[in-house]
Symmetry: C2
Subunit: 333 residues, 2 copies
């Protein structure tokens, strides 16, 4: 690919003139401009983003780290982030955390090697301390769906506890008392928080918690299937269910189908959903939307603000929970 040098030579001007014309800085004789533009066209010239990065000590690249690419959830985030960066003519770099602290560390290292101007991190395995330490570094970053008090101005969060309570209340308000809850791996804080929301809503109604109704899954389809089997083997079966992950819900629905358990007649279901995946279930499951696109959007705005060293309203950075009604919940009252 042609370099600026060749363009300059062909146009009979100095490299710096070409550079100025590319960047539209200053003014030039129209004749000069024309000659340079012709030369660029003729050589099919495109400035090297790499060389430019080096010269202006910023890369125009943003790193986006997620835990895994597959499953649709990531696609939503990435799509949103890419869309906005496209407008700003920035490059998006992605990396997977691979479900481990080490993987996340490596991903960030990669971003640093490429001198990304900023990161958006969906970090699950790095400790608060590590992230706080990272924040002392000069490269700005934003945490997606994670809250750390000390760096809260870099966090875009969703109140999972409140959201889970909302979902549970939705069932309670419709007369359900015996409500099951299928959680994610309880080793993760994010799963714990959802469970807490469920517990709170139950307690608020003065209902005693039945530990049999709590089943731990791993967010995968099979675990939902197994959880449902377990719940349906109980003597006192729940009349409703809160599933904290859409894939698990698919497993739950599959079990229902196979065992001829009717939803919502025999059991009502409400489920977390981040990618509108429950829309494809039959019956259509009522969901608690995990607004990952909105959050990704906020993350980009926030990162941009950090890059420009502006400050932004804290208020907008937490997205509110919303329920999307399907027909998987029956009203018992």
């Amino acid at each position: 690919m042609a370099s600026i040098k060749e363009v300059a030579a062909l146009a009979g001007v100095n490299r710096s003139t070409v550079s100025r014309i590319i960047n539209g800085e200053g003014s030039f004789r129209s004749d000069t401009k024309r000659r340079v533009e012709e030369a660029m066209a003729q050589l099919d010239y495109r400035p090297s983003a790499i060389a430019r990065s080096l010269a202006k000590s910023h890369s125009n690249m943003i790193g986006l780290m997620v835990t895994y690419y597959t499953g649709g959830f990531f696609g939503q985030m990435m799509n949103q982030v890419q869309l906005e960066l496209d407008v700003q003519n920035k490059f998006l770099l992605t990396a997977q955390g691979h479900h481990s602290a080490d993987g996340e560390k490596k991903a960030i290292e990669k971003f640093k090697d490429l001198r990304c101007d900023g990161f958006i991190l969906h970090s699950r395995y790095l400790s608060d301390e590590e992230l706080i330490a990272l924040s002392k570094t000069k490269t700005p970053f934003v945490l997606l769906d994670r809250y750390i008090e000390e760096i809260k101005q870099q966090c875009v969060t969703f109140d999972h506890q409140k959201a889970s309570a909302l979902a549970t209340s939705y069932l309670l308000e419709r007369g359900h008392i015996n409500i099951g809850c299928v959680t994610g791996p309880l080793g993760r804080v994010s799963s714990q928080v959802r469970l807490t929301g469920y517990k709170n809503a139950i307690a608020e109604k003065g209902i005693a918690l039945n530990p049999d109704y709590l089943v731990e899954g791993d967010y995968e389809l099979d675990s939902g299937y197994a959880a449902m089997a377990q719940l349906m083997s109980l003597e006192q079966k729940p009349t409703a269910l809160f599933s904290t992950g859409e894939e698990m819900t698919r497993g739950i629905m599959k079990y229902c189908y196979e065992q001829q358990i009717r939803c919502p007649e025999d059991i009502s279901i409400i489920s977390y959903d981040s990618v509108n995946s429950c829309r494809g279930l039959y019956p259509q499951v009522t969901t608690l939307e995990f607004p990952i696109s909105d959050m990704a959007h906020e993350a980009v705005l926030l990162l941009n603000a950090q890059l420009k060293a502006q400050s932004r309203e804290q208020a907008q950075l937490s997205v509110s929970p919303r329920i999307q009604e399907g027909n998987s919940v029956i009203n018992l009252t």
Copy 2:
């Protein structure tokens, strides 16, 4: 971030010595090496991939272009590609074609601006001519799921026609005669090819094609739902169905559920599936696997070969179709 200069200064050596130590080229006094390593550690030094790219006129970046990020299909590809590039310490850059020739052009432009060493393109909208023209360029690339005779050594393909015929035959062999087919947008070659496979299989059995059984969809859930409604309104309903896309199949199943059409008792279904998404349907739908991960794997190998200017066996580059049995097909014989 510290530069090589600072490391050199701190260690009391020349920059090139540091460079050599980083790259493990040549041999050094153990004392020198130790001092340099200490300096690097102390400054938390990481070489700039950008500066390095410039110096060694190759970037270690690979561009992956897809039509869209959402939907899971892309995640599979990306995951596979990233995994392999990680091993080789290469950077992955991604871009969306946004369902237009212009979008695809822009994506490639972006890769070029960053001086990617090679591309993997899932191109749908650029013409054969444009792609052939691109192949005259110095940057090597591989076409994913697209065949162009003139540059076939750069193509990783899947025989959709054969695959579709296989799926249709699967139904025929089980005694089905009245087989519906839900296609993608017939404006796209990729949809046409699948339809041709279906037609061929039917014709081979000496069965006349019933045009009523052909319904055009757009690969989205809703279009599957609508297609099913249309097919079920026919006087002579099909006993089986070949769906050329998993999302459409979800719509089809949803319609069945709502209308109390039993699968497979009332209708048998076989479906394309690229992301194992039909596994979550109930009943579990028999699928024709679209082996996108395998293909992505092949694409990386092929691209690597091109980068090293090696040649590879053509034979491996076409992946064979495979059927994964569920319980959505009934045997009428």
